[in-house]
C-alpha cells in the first residue's frame, strides 16, 4: 500500500507542462457582460448588422436562462460579471504571411510544440491558431483555396462568406439550446470556419490550436464545419492554457453539417490547465458540440482525448437525420487530482437504417470524479437503427469515482441497441502476468492503460495520436491501481 501511495503521490505532484504565460500587449473588452459588451465586441470585429442582431437576440434568450445543475460536477458559481469577454493580442495590421506575425506569438506556439513554420514546411497540416479570443494565423490557405476549400478564422468568414455563415450559423446548435450555447452565441469572439465543396476530399488534416493566455478572461470560440455532398475532411483541435490560481471559463460551440455522402472526422486533444493538485485554479470547460448528418449516407465521427480542465461538461453529439447515416464517438477521459469530468455523447436516430457506435474509456485517479453521460434515442420512424455502446471505467486509487449515466430511449421495434459498461481496476493477474515476463510494474501499468485506450487512440490521426499517447503516459506514468 505504501508503494501505491508513493506512486500516487508522484502522479499527483506532476506539474502541468503548459502552465506558463507570456506577457503580450492585448486589446481587452471591459470587464463584465452587458448589451454594450456585445456591441463593443461586434464593433471591434467590424461585424455586419445581422450578426449583431443575432448576438443580441441570443443575449436576451440567455438572460432568461438558468445555469444547468444536472451535471455530476460541483464548482462554485461563476461570476460572469467579473470576466472579460474579449481579449486579443495587439497587432497593428492583419499579417499577410507567417513572417509578419509577432515573433513573440510564434514563440508561444513553439513552446507548445506546434511551430507554425515547421508545421507548414514539414507536416503538411493546415493550422488555424486561436489565442485567447482571436485567430492569429492560418497556414496553407492558398493550397486549400485552389481546391475550393475554405479554411479561415470565423471573423474572416463573416466578412468574406457571409452567405454561408448566415445559412449555417446556429442551424445545428440553436442559440436556445442551453445556457452556455446561448452565452457563446452572444459573445463568441472567433474560431475556425471550414467549408468543403462538393466532391472534394480535403488533402490534409485541418487543425485549430486554442490557447488561453490572458488572465480573467473567458474564451468563447465558435467553430463551424460544413461538408457538402461527397466530401471528406478530418479536423483536429488542441487546447492549452497557462497556470493560474483563478478558474477560467471556456464555453465553445462547435457545429458540423454533413450533406449527402459527406464524411467529417473531428478529433480533439483537450489539455486545458486542470488546476493544481489541491484543485485550485483550472479551466471550466463547458462546451457544446454537435453535428448533423443531414444527407443520406453521411458520417460524423468524434474522437476526443480529454486530459485537462478542472471541470469538463461536454457531449459531442450526432443527429442522424439522413437515411443510412453513421455517427461515431470515441472518447478517452482521464481525470486526476480534483478534476471533474461529465462527458459523453448523444446519438439521435431519425433516419432509416442509421448506425451509431459509442466507445468511451474513463480513467480516474487521485480525488477526481469521472462521469459518462450518454443518450441513445431511436425515433419512431428510424427503422432498423443500430447502436452499440461500450463505456468502461478504470479506477486508480480509492479516492476517485467513476459514474455512468446512459439514457436509452427506443420508440421503434426494429431498433437494435446494445449497451455495455464495466468498472474495474487494473487486474492483479494482468500485472502479475507482465511481472512474470520481466516487465516492471510501472511499465506494465502503462502497457495495460495504453491497451485499454488503444481502441480510441487508434481513431486519432497520426499526428495527434503521438501527442495523445504522450499525454496519457505523462498523466499516468508510474501509477499502480
Amino acid at each position: 500500500m505504501s508503494k501505491d501511495n508513493q506512486i500516487l503521490e508522484d502522479l499527483t505532484s506532476k506539474e502541468y507542462e503548459h502552465g506558463w504565460s507570456v506577457n503580450l500587449e492585448v486589446d481587452e473588452a471591459p470587464t463584465g457582460l452587458t448589451e454594450d459588451t456585445i456591441r463593443w465586441i461586434s464593433a471591434k470585429k467590424e461585424e455586419p448588422q445581422w450578426l449583431l442582431d443575432w448576438r443580441l437576440k441570443a443575449y436576451k434568450i440567455w438572460l432568461a436562462m438558468d445555469e444547468p445543475k444536472w451535471a455530476n460536477v460541483h464548482y462554485p458559481k461563476i461570476d460572469l460579471q467579473s470576466l472579460k469577454f474579449y481579449s486579443a493580442p495587439k497587432q497593428s495590421n492583419k499579417p499577410k504571411s507567417l513572417d509578419e506575425i509577432d515573433p513573440e506569438l510564434l514563440q508561444i506556439y513553439e513552446r507548445l510544440g506546434i511551430s507554425l513554420n515547421e508545421q507548414k514546411k514539414l507536416q503538411g497540416i493546415a493550422v488555424d491558431v486561436v489565442l485567447d479570443s482571436v485567430s492569429v494565423g492560418t497556414t496553407f490557405k492558398d493550397t486549400l483555396s485552389k481546391l475550393g476549400v475554405i479554411f479561415c478564422s470565423f471573423s474572416e468568414a463573416v466578412k468574406e462568406h457571409p452567405e454561408l455563415v448566415k445559412k449555417y450559423l446556429g442551424s445545428v446548435v440553436p442559440m436556445t439550446d442551453n445556457y452556455y450555447a446561448a452565452l457563446n452565441s452572444a459573445v463568441f469572439s472567433d474560431g475556425s470556419f471550414c467549408y468543403i465543396p462538393k466532391g472534394t476530399r480535403c488533402p490534409m488534416e485541418l487543425s485549430t490550436y486554442f490557447r488561453i493566455n490572458a488572465a480573467n478572461t473567458g474564451q468563447f470560440e465558435r467553430t463551424l464545419i460544413i461538408a457538402e455532398d461527397n466530401s471528406y475532411v478530418s479536423y483536429l483541435e488542441g487546447c492549452t492554457a497557462p497556470q493560474r490560481d483563478e478558474n477560467q471559463l471556456h464555453a465553445a460551440v462547435v457545429e458540423i453539417y454533413a450533406a449527402k455522402h459527406a464524411e467529417v472526422k473531428y478529433s480533439t486533444v483537450q489539455n486545458w490547465y486542470p488546476g493544481n493538485k489541491e484543485g485550485v485554479g483550472g479551466i471550466y470547460n463547458f462546451v457544446t458540440k454537435r453535428g448533423i448528418c443531414a444527407g443520406d449516407y453521411s458520417k460524423i465521427s468524434w474522437t476526443q482525448v480529454e486530459t485537462g480542465s478542472a471541470v469538463t461538461w461536454k457531449y459531442p453529439s450526432c443527429i442522424l437525420k439522413g437515411d443510412y447515416s453513421i455517427g461515431e464517438f470515441y472518447s478517452v477521459a482521464v481525470t486526476n487530482n480534483y478534476q471533474q469530468a461529465d462527458t459523453g455523447t448523444k446519438m439521435i436516430h431519425i433516419g432509416k437504417n442509421t448506425k451509431s457506435r459509442i466507445v468511451s474509456k474513463g480513467i480516474s485517479a487521485g480525488h477526481s470524479q469521472n462521469s459518462y453521460r450518454g443518450q441513445v434515442q431511436v425515433m419512431k420512424r428510424a427503422t432498423n437503427a443500430r447502436n452499440f455502446s461500450q463505456c468502461d471505467s478504470l479506477l486508480m486509487g480509492n479516492r476517485c469515482g467513476a459514474h455512468t449515466f446512459p439514457y436509452i430511449d427506443i420508440q421503434n421495434p426494429s431498433a437494435k441497441v446494445e449497451h455495455e459498461a464495466t468498472t474495474s481496476k487494473i487486474g492483479e493477474d494482468q500485472l502479475f502476468y507482465c511481472n512474470q515476463r520481466g516487465i516492471a510494474t510501472e511499465d506494465a501499468v502503462a502497457l495495460i492503460v495504453n491497451g485499454y485506450a488503444k481502441e480510441v487512440l487508434n481513431q486519432l490521426p497520426m499526428e495527434f495520436a503521438v501527442e495523445a499517447q504522450k499525454l496519457l503516459a505523462l498523466t499516468l506514468e508510474g501509477s499502480v491501481g
Partner: protein, 425 residues
C-alpha cells in the same frame, strides 16, 4: 430562478388529509415534506418518463381513502394458487382483514402497527427519499408488523393478497413492516388483485429489515386492472452475511411505478433483484431500482427483462452505488427488452456510481427484436411463425421466472405468462 410550483395533485391530496392520533411524528414529517416539495412535478429527473402527478389528476376523481367492502371466501379462493398451504394475509383496500386471513404465527409474531407501535417504522423507507413515501406516511390507516424470530426457518411461504377496489374514496395506502431476526429464513409472496374495473390509486410502502445471516425471498406479482395506478415503495436493509432476493412480475395496470431499494449495510451481504414486465395495451410500467453497496465483500445481481406490445411503455432505471468503503464489491446488472410494436416505447437508464477502486461492476442493456435466425430455425422445423414467436418469448421471459423460489407460485406465474404470450402477442 424558476420556482417549482406545488402541483395540483398535491393539493388534492392535502385537501383530504384525515388526522390520526398515532405515529404523529412520522405523519407530521410526511405532511411537511408534501407541503414543501409536493409530488413530483413534470420533468423531475426521478420521474422523468412517468408524469405521475398529471396522471393522478386525470384519472383519480376522489382523493380520499377507499372504504373497505366485506370480502367473502369465494372472492379470495380463485387467487390462492394450487399447492399453497402456508399462511395467508389478506388486505382489504390496504387494511388487514382478519376474517378472511389465516395466520398461524408459527415462528413469527404478527401484529398491527397500532398494536405494536414499532420504533423501526419509517426508519428504513425514509420520508425524504420519495414523495410517495411521505404521502403514505400521511395517509396509511393501519399496517402490519411481522417479526420473524431468531433462527426460525419457516418452510411454507407467507402469502399477502391485496384486494383493491374504489369505494367512496379511491386512495389505498397499505403499509407493511417486516423484521427478520438473525439467522431466520422466510419466503414471502405477494399478489395484488383488483375487484372491479374502476380506477383507483394504491400507494403501498413495504419496509424490511434482514438481520445477520438471514435469508429472505420476496416475490411480487402485479396484475391489476387497466385503470389502476400504483406507486410501490419497497426498501430493504440487509445486514451482515444476509441474503435478500426480490422478484417483481408486472403484467397489467394503467400506470405502475416500482421503487425498489436494497441497502447492503455490512460485509458479506447479497442482494438480488429480478424483474419481468410483460406489457400490452396502454400499460406503463416504471421500475426504479437502487442498490447501495456501503461495505466490502458484498454482491448484487440484477436482471430485468421486458416484452412490450401495443402502445405500452417500459421504463427501467437501475442505480448501483458503490461507496468508498465497499471494496471487493461485485455488482452486475442486466436489462433486456423486446419491442413488438411500432407504438411501444422503452426508456432505460442503467446507472453506475462508483467510488471504490477494487470492484467488479458491469451493466449491460439491450433493446431489440426476436432473433430472426432462431425464428427461422424453428420454422424450418415445422413450427408455425406465431407459435415460434410465442416459444421464443416464453423462453426470454422464463429466465426471470426461474428465480421464483416457491415452485407452486412459479407454476402459477408461468401459466399466466404463457396465457398472455399465447393470446395477446
Amino acid at each position: 430562478m424558476t420556482v417549482i410550483k406545488s402541483n395540483k395533485s398535491t393539493d388534492l391530496f392535502l385537501d383530504h388529509v384525515v388526522s390520526h392520533t398515532d405515529f404523529s411524528a412520522l405523519r407530521a414529517k410526511g405532511l411537511e415534506f408534501l407541503k414543501e416539495k409536493g409530488l413530483p412535478a413534470l420533468k423531475e429527473e426521478e420521474y422523468k418518463f412517468t408524469a405521475i402527478s398529471k396522471k393522478l389528476e386525470q384519472s383519480i376523481s376522489r382523493f380520499s381513502t377507499a372504504e373497505n367492502i366485506p370480502l367473502t371466501q369465494e372472492q379470495i379462493k380463485p387467487h390462492i394458487f394450487e399447492g399453497f398451504n402456508g399462511d395467508l394475509v389478506v388486505f382489504n383496500n390496504g387494511v388487514f382483514d382478519p376474517s378472511v386471513s389465516s395466520v398461524s404465527k408459527k415462528g413469527y409474531t404478527f401484529e398491527t402497527l397500532s398494536e405494536n407501535q414499532p420504533e423501526l417504522l419509517g426508519k428504513i423507507a425514509k420520508t425524504e427519499k420519495d414523495p410517495f413515501v411521505a404521502l403514505n406516511n400521511v395517509f396509511f390507516e393501519d399496517g402490519i408488523y411481522i417479526k420473524v424470530g431468531k433462527n426460525q426457518k419457516i418452510e411454507q411461504p407467507i402469502l399477502f393478497l391485496y384486494f383493491n377496489q374504489a369505494n367512496k374514496g379511491e386512495v389505498i395506502t397499505p403499509r407493511l413492516l417486516i423484521e427478520i431476526e438473525d439467522g431466520a429464513e422466510v419466503k414471502f409472496l405477494e399478489n395484488t388483485i383488483s375487484l372491479d374495473e374502476e380506477s383507483y390509486f394504491s400507494n403501498p410502502v413495504t419496509e424490511i429489515k434482514v438481520g445477520q445471516n438471514a435469508h429472505v425471498h420476496y416475490c411480487r406479482f402485479q396484475n391489476e386492472n387497466r385503470k389502476s395506478i400504483s406507486v410501490n415503495n419497497f426498501e430493504v436493509d440487509i445486514h451482515k452475511d444476509a441474503t435478500f432476493t426480490s422478484v417483481v412480475i408486472s403484467m397489467a395496470g394503467d400506470l405502475v411505478r416500482n421503487n425498489l431499494s436494497l441497502n447492503l449495510l455490512d460485509t458479506g451481504c447479497e442482494g438480488n433483484m429480478y424483474g419481468l414486465y410483460l406489457l400490452n395495451g396502454k400499460t406503463h410500467v416504471d421500475n426504479h431500482t437502487n442498490v447501495d453497496h456501503t461495505k466490502p465483500h458484498c454482491q448484487s445481481n440484477e436482471l430485468y427483462k421486458g416484452v412490450l406490445a401495443d402502445s405500452s411503455r417500459g421504463i427501467f432505471n437501475g442505480k448501483i452505488f458503490v461507496r468508498q468503503d465497499a471494496q471487493k464489491t461485485n455488482a452486475f446488472q442486466q436489462n433486456n427488452n423486446i419491442l413488438l410494436s411500432e407504438d411501444a416505447i422503452v426508456n432505460t437508464k442503467p446507472q453506475l456510481e462508483i467510488w471504490a477502486d477494487d470492484v467488479k461492476c458491469s451493466h449491460g442493456c439491450t433493446t431489440g427484436q426476436l432473433d430472426e435466425e432462431a425464428l427461422f430455425y424453428l420454422q424450418a422445423r415445422g413450427i408455425g411463425k406465431e407459435n415460434a414467436k410465442g416459444l421464443l418469448l416464453f423462453a426470454f421471459a422464463g429466465e426471470v421466472l426461474e428465480y421464483i423460489a416457491v415452485d407452486s407460485f412459479k407454476d402459477y406465474c408461468l401459466h399466466l405468462v404463457q396465457e398472455r404470450l399465447g393470446s395477446n402477442f
